[in-house]
Every structure is written in C-alpha cells, then in structure tokens.
C-alpha cells in the first residue's frame, strides 16, 4: 500500500470543503491506473481477454461497494454519479408503480437534484409531501409517520445533509416505510464511507452513492436496488442493456475500479477516521469559540458526521468573509448553488433567519486534514471575523445592546 503523502502543496490554500468534493486518495488512483492503460478493454466485450479483464475489475469493485453498505453485489448498479442515482431511483420507481401509487414523501432539506426531481413528478401528476425538519435539521418521525399513506410509492430522505452534516434516523425511517409498504430511498452521497450503513438493518430499498465524495473519482456513482423484496425501476438511459437494463452505456472501467477501491478504504478506516475527525472538529470549534463570541453551529452537533461544521458568524457577511480568508477553501453552502447569492434553503428550513443564514460558512474536514491546518484555519477565521466585525456598525450596535431587528430603517 502506498503511504498517504501530503496532498496539498504549500502554496495551495487549505482545503476545507470536503462536502463539495474530496481529493482522490492516491491509493485509489493507483488501483485505477492499470485500467487506464494496459487493462483498457470494454467490460462488455465478451469475445476477448481485454474485455474479460475489464469485467473482472468492474465486478470486484461492485462487490467492494456492496460490502460497504451490507448489500449483495447483484444489488449494486453503476451510474455516472449521485445526481443520476437520485434521478433514477425516484423517477424510476415512481414511473414503474404509477398505476398503483402516486404519492412521494421527501424533506425540504434534500439535495437540489432530489427536490427538482420531485417537482418534476408533481408536473407529471404525482402528489409530493415536502416534510419540514426540526430546528436541529432532523426529520420528526411522527410527522413522517403521519405523512406516509397507502398511496405513497417512495419516501426519499437523505442519510446525511450536504450543508449541515446531520444524520437522519435511517433505521427508524426504514421501519416506518416498511410498515406502510412504501419504498425507502436514501441519498447517501454524504454518508457512505463516513458512517456505518446497512441496507438490511435499516430497511433501505434504494440508496444513492457518489464516488467523488468518498475520495474516489468524479463521474461515477452507484445505486443500490433491493432484490428481496424486489424493487423495480423504469430505466432512464436506454441502449445496450448494460447494468441489467437499469442503466445502459459502456461502463467506465477505471472509474468503477476507483469507486470500489475508495469504498473498501473507507470501510477499513471508517472507525479510526471518525475518531480522528471528531477530535479535529472539536478542536476547531473550541478554538473558534474561545476567541469569537456570537457564533452558532447550525444543525445537530451530536447526530452529525465528524467532518462537517456549519457556522453562522453573527454580523459578518459570509461572502465578504470568504473573500478575506483566501488561504482557506470553504463554501457558503452547497457547491451547486454556491455561485448564487441566495441564502441557503437548508438553513432557512431550520428556522435560521435570513440575515444569520447569510453569515454562514460550511467547513468540511476530511482524510487529509491535519491538526496544523485546523489551527491555521482557526487563526485566519478569528482574524478576519474580528476585522470584519470591527468595521461593522451592526456589530457595534449589537455590542451596545441595541436589538437590530427593532431598528426601522429610513428609506433614502
């Protein structure tokens, strides 16, 4: 095994955006290399050894992915990523069973690709219930139970939120779905490889996985599709009939191999890594709290993956802060929408006020984050937040005890 070498060059900013994407683990790259070069065959070519060799790589990787989530390898199909997995799972199951069931349940804090897919289903005549979440970001199980009916085809609730890192009570959700006869789909892009997942114990029927969120390559993901009891899907991409007809297209062998290797490494290192990252996260939070008043962590801190913090720095504009901390790569929310200046809909759903939502940063820690990087990041954040607050009349007023919300601003 290759030793993990430092990924970052010294002139590069410190990468603290592990929920947007993760660096490729050098061990994963090494596993992929032969399949880029001398093992380049088309995994679907059945007539010669180049094809067989590629197929062997693809199937070994499929088993590695299956093992990570307690599934059988026959239940794992490759996709081009979690967006496709989510589209295929929700639309595929809704389309297949539409004659019997026409209701979908999801939450307001799902990833955009789930919400957009649900909106599309509404246009197609489905009814969609968008469940609120509690202030800590977790779904209320009683509210869920009340929402699922005998017309519900699928409940789609993400395992871990991409902005605030909170972990939904998957086993409990799975139990409710099973009782009510609805399929349970979970977008596990942010969860797989980071927390233990077991499709059997959690009664999960469909699960989306992404390669590049688990130190694997971009352009590859997987969808778990339960076989017993069998979940059926209408395919979205048709053609050569690969992936048992669920998903046509030549499999990208090196990417599949990379996903498998990434899954195996995550599985092996998950426990130790969780301990290490929790320590680093606590160190960061403690460091910030020691020097900065009025900072607030968004989302439940206990039911949360170790590698995520989402913090509101009161009276500091998140975008200005990001401009200041040039040496840190962080984001103000999900990467997909990070170019827009809208406040995060996830934070708004937790009841975070618009002004406060604008002051938030998502800080993602991961496999290659070091204690030194965390300390440097704390120093930079403290420096810039303090500086920005010193320039802010709002901060001054709030320090003087003025309730800013009570101010009536005169129009100019």
């Amino acid at each position: 095994m290759t030793a993990i070498t430092q990924i970052r060059r010294n002139d590069q900013p410190i990468y603290l955006d592990y929920q947007a994407t993760t660096p490729l683990d050098p061990r994963v790259l090494e596993a992929m290399m032969p399949y880029f070069t001398y093992k380049f065959g088309n995994a679907h070519s059945r007539s010669h050894s180049y094809g067989w060799e590629a197929e062997e790589g693809v199937e070994k990787a499929r088993a590695q992915v299956a093992k990570l989530i307690g599934a059988d390898e026959k239940e794992v199909i490759y996709t081009s990523g979690a967006t496709e997995s989510n589209n295929l799972a929700i639309k595929g199951v809704a389309d297949f069973y539409k004659d019997r069931r026409n209701h979908v349940v999801t939450t307001v804090t799902e990833h955009k690709c789930v919400l957009d897919t649900c909106r599309h289903l509404e246009q197609e005549g489905f009814t969609v219930t968008y469940l609120p979440v509690q202030q800590n970001g977790l779904v209320d199980l009683d509210v869920l139970r009340a929402a699922v009916t005998d017309k519900t085809v699928v409940v789609s609730i993400m395992a871990v939120n991409n902005e605030i890192g909170v972990i939904q009570p998957l086993a409990e959700i799975g139990k409710i779905c099973r009782e009510k006869g609805a399929f349970f789909h979970t977008d596990a892009a942010q969860a797989a490889g980071k927390i233990p997942l077991d499709v059997e114990a959690m009664n999960i029927d469909l699960m989306s996985i992404s390669g590049h969120k688990i130190y694997g390559p971009k352009g590859i993901g997987a969808l778990y599709v339960r076989r017993k009891p069998r979940v059926r899907l209408a395919a979205m991409i048709h053609g050569g009939g690969q992936e048992r007809g669920f998903r046509s297209g030549t499999l990208p062998t090196p990417l599949c191999v990379g996903l498998g290797e990434a899954a195996e490494i995550c599985m092996k290192e998950m426990d130790a890594e969780a301990v290490r990252l929790t320590k680093l996260r606590d160190r960061m939070l403690k460091g910030l709290n020691a020097k900065l008043p009025e900072i607030y962590v968004n989302g439940d801190l206990e039911h949360r993956i170790p590698g995520n913090l989402n913090i509101s720095f009161a009276h500091v504009e998140g975008e200005s802060l990001m401009m200041g901390i040039k040496n840190l790569s962080v984001s103000s929310g999900s990467a997909c929408t990070s170019a827009s200046l809208e406040p995060s809909y996830v934070l708004r759903a937790l009841g975070v006020e618009e002004e406060m939502a604008h002051t938030s940063l998502r800080i993602g820690l991961g496999r290659f984050t070091t204690e030194h990087e965390v300390d440097t990041a704390v120093d930079e954040l403290v420096h810039h937040v303090t500086k920005l607050r010193e320039m802010s009349p709002l901060w001054e007023m709030s320090q003087e005890g003025i309730d800013i919300k009570s101010i009536e601003w005169a129009a100019h």
Binding site: N42, H44, R46, S47, H48, N87, I220, G240, P252
Partner: protein, 373 residues
C-alpha cells in the same frame, strides 16, 4: 497478457492515448468541484472550460454549444428526449441507445449498402404535420458506413424537423462539422477515439430546443445536472486535440479486405458500395460462425468482435446486417475489425495470417477439399 497482443476492436473501445492519460492523472490529482467558488473549484472549472473548447473545435461547434455527458449512450438518450419532439424518425441501423431511447419510433429503412432511404424519409415526414426529430447516425458502429447526413438535414429541415446525429463512431476518426452538416444535435463519445470511458458530449446548435430530463444542480448550463467528471472531461479534451495523430488511412483497410478476399473469394465486405470509415471492416468468413472466428482469433492473440460490444454477451445476429438485407445465416458469419491510433501495419498482417489459417483449417475439416491448395 502478452505484449504482442493485437487489438483490432477500437469501435468497442480504444485504449487511451498517452497525452490523455497525462491530462487525466493531472486532473485527478488536482481535484476540486467546478461549481465551488474557491481556488480549487476555479481551477477545476478552468480544466472543464479548456476541454470544452477543445471538444468544440473537434466538431466545429462553439464551446457554449457543448454539454458534457457520461458518454454516447447518455448523449443519444438525452437528445432524443430533450429535443421535446413527440414524433421520432430513426434509421434502421441506429445504435440501441437511439433505438431504445423512446417508444413508438418510426423506422426508416436502409438499402443494401446500409444507407438510409431518403425517399422514404421524405415521404414519412410529409405524412404528418406533427413536428418531428430525425435521428441518423454519422457512421455505423458495425460496418463503418457513412450516412448522407447533409442530405438527411436538407430533407428533414425542409419538413420542419430537427436532426440528431449520433457521431460516436465518426468523431475523432474523420472530420465532422456541426454547422457544416447543419445538424441540430450531435452525440460524441470519448473512448471510441483514445479518450476515457465515462465521458461524452451532446453538441447542440445554439437555438436548438433542449430540456434535460435529468434534474439537479444546474451544471452544464442546465443541460446536464451532476458534478462534472473533471478528469474524464480533461481526457476527452486531450483526445480531441490528438484525434488525427497516427490514424491509419483507408489504404490499410482496403489492403486488408483485398487480402482476405484473396483467401476466400466468397467473403463479403458489408457496405462496400458506400463511403465508410477508414478504420472499419465488416466481413464474412463463408461458412464459419463469427463466434468461432472470434474465439480462434483470440487464441491467436488477436482481439476483434462479432458486432457491437454492448449487450450482455449474448451472441445475437446483427440487426444492422439484417436491415441491409443480409440473410440471417450469412449475418452470423460477419466479423468486425476496427483499427485505431495504436494500430500498426504488423497488427493487420497478423490478422490476415490468422484469418487465413483459420479459414483453411475450418473449411478443410467441414467442407472436404473445398480448398485443395
């Protein structure tokens, strides 16, 4: 695997070029999500944009007209669904990723050379006022036959129809020009000409209607949601830049065909009467099932195929050849040989020798004295 293995199945997949490999490894190591605002994200974005210019240049498109996908299959599906036309007319020899992309398509027949029947196309289009999309491939994956795309466009546009062209087997092998051809949509795949698997593109004429059925983060100007496969896209760009380098000319193909026909005068080259890709030969070995040929050649260290690589490993008769009017027993004897950037003349000589050995061996045992020499 012996180093001397001869790979002549480039229409299934082509090994990646060294420059592609370098571009990909660099991108894989650099990381970054192109949608992120910070430096890591911006550098990933820059890679994607550079590759978009390179791929656009390969097919004479503007960079903004290119949307990256996970491959040719997705590009084809996406075009046929995304164009938003209910009426779909496709040629009988299209790839399954076109034929199965939607239900209720109208099939336009081809002639004995595999060329789409323009008269039938024109008549079918005139038969209904419903706005249509016509999908005809640039080059066939099994025979290499080049379709008269400019004529298809002329007929289709005159009838108010949009045109999609699956150029997966043509791009990177022969010059293609989106605007010169006049097509509205053009599907591309990287791994058929030295780029990586897992990436392709749909080039669309600016102004052509398009609504993706894949929803999410709004990447690729809302034409294809999902975090971009940055390394794959970078590799695609590098393959586009290198596309013409070291490609065999039609002379090699013609020499191969002449040599095989000399061995077996009854051997038939499919689509021989049409313009074809310079890299593809589809030829029968009289009386010998393709399956047998493929296995024997594999034992001799040569990779070829009996048709498309796609589906499940079942050896089925080629729908392409049947559509060209080839009898089903004869279609079972057709072999596909396809060259690429890594092919050298010695590969072709080895194939000719192995093919000759096999033919003599088999015909001697099955048809006594068929070839006394």
């Amino acid at each position: 695997m012996p180093a001397a293995y001869t790979y002549l199945d480039h229409n299934a997949t082509s090994p990646i070029r060294p420059a592609v490999f370098d571009a990909m490894v660099e991108a894989l190591q650099a990381g970054g999500n192109p949608s992120s605002v910070h430096r890591a994200g911006r550098s990933a974005r820059a890679r994607v944009d550079a590759a978009r210019r390179q791929v656009a240049a390969l097919v004479g498109a503007l960079p903004a007209e290119v949307a990256f996908t996970s491959g040719g299959t997705e590009a084809n599906n996406s075009a046929l669904v995304g164009a938003g036309r209910k009426r779909l007319l496709v040629s009988a020899v299209e790839h399954d990723s076109v034929l199965k992309a939607a239900r209720g398509m109208e099939i336009v027949p081809v002639d004995g050379n595999g060329l789409v029947d323009l008269g039938v196309l024109e008549k079918s289009l005139a038969a209904s006022a419903e706005p249509a999309l016509v999908s005809v491939m640039f080059a066939n994956n099994e025979t290499g036959v080049l379709q008269p795309i400019a004529d298809v466009v002329r007929v289709a546009h005159a009838a108010g129809a949009l045109v999609h062209c699956d150029a997966v087997q043509g791009a990177g092998k022969v010059p293609i020009d989106l605007h010169g051809l006049g097509v509205d949509y053009l599907s591309l795949s990287a791994h058929k000409f030295g780029g990586p698997t897992g990436v392709g593109a749909l080039a669309m004429r600016s102004g052509a209607p398009f609504a993706s059925d894949r929803l999410g983060g709004g990447q690729e100007a809302n034409r294809r949601a999902g975090t971009e496969n940055v390394a794959g896209i970078a590799g695609f760009g590098a393959a586009a830049v290198a596309a013409g380098d070291g490609l065999a000319t039609a002379e090699w193909r013609d020499g191969l065909e002449a040599a095989l026909i000399e061995v077996a005068p009854a051997a038939r080259v499919y689509g021989a009467g049409a313009s074809r890709l310079p890299n593809t030969t589809c030829i029968s070995m009289p009386g010998v099932r393709a399956e047998t040929q493929v296995m024997a050649l594999d034992l001799a260290g040569i990779c070829v195929s009996a048709g498309a690589a796609c589906s499940s490993g079942k050896v089925t008769r080629s729908a392409v050849l049947l559509a060209m009017g080839v009898g089903s027993a004869e279609a079972e004897t057709a072999l596909r040989i396809s060259f690429g950037w890594s092919t050298v003349l010695e590969d072709i000589e080895r194939l000719i020798a192995a093919w000759r050995d096999l033919y003599i061996r088999v015909t001697h045992s099955d048809i006594p004295r068929a070839r006394a020499a």
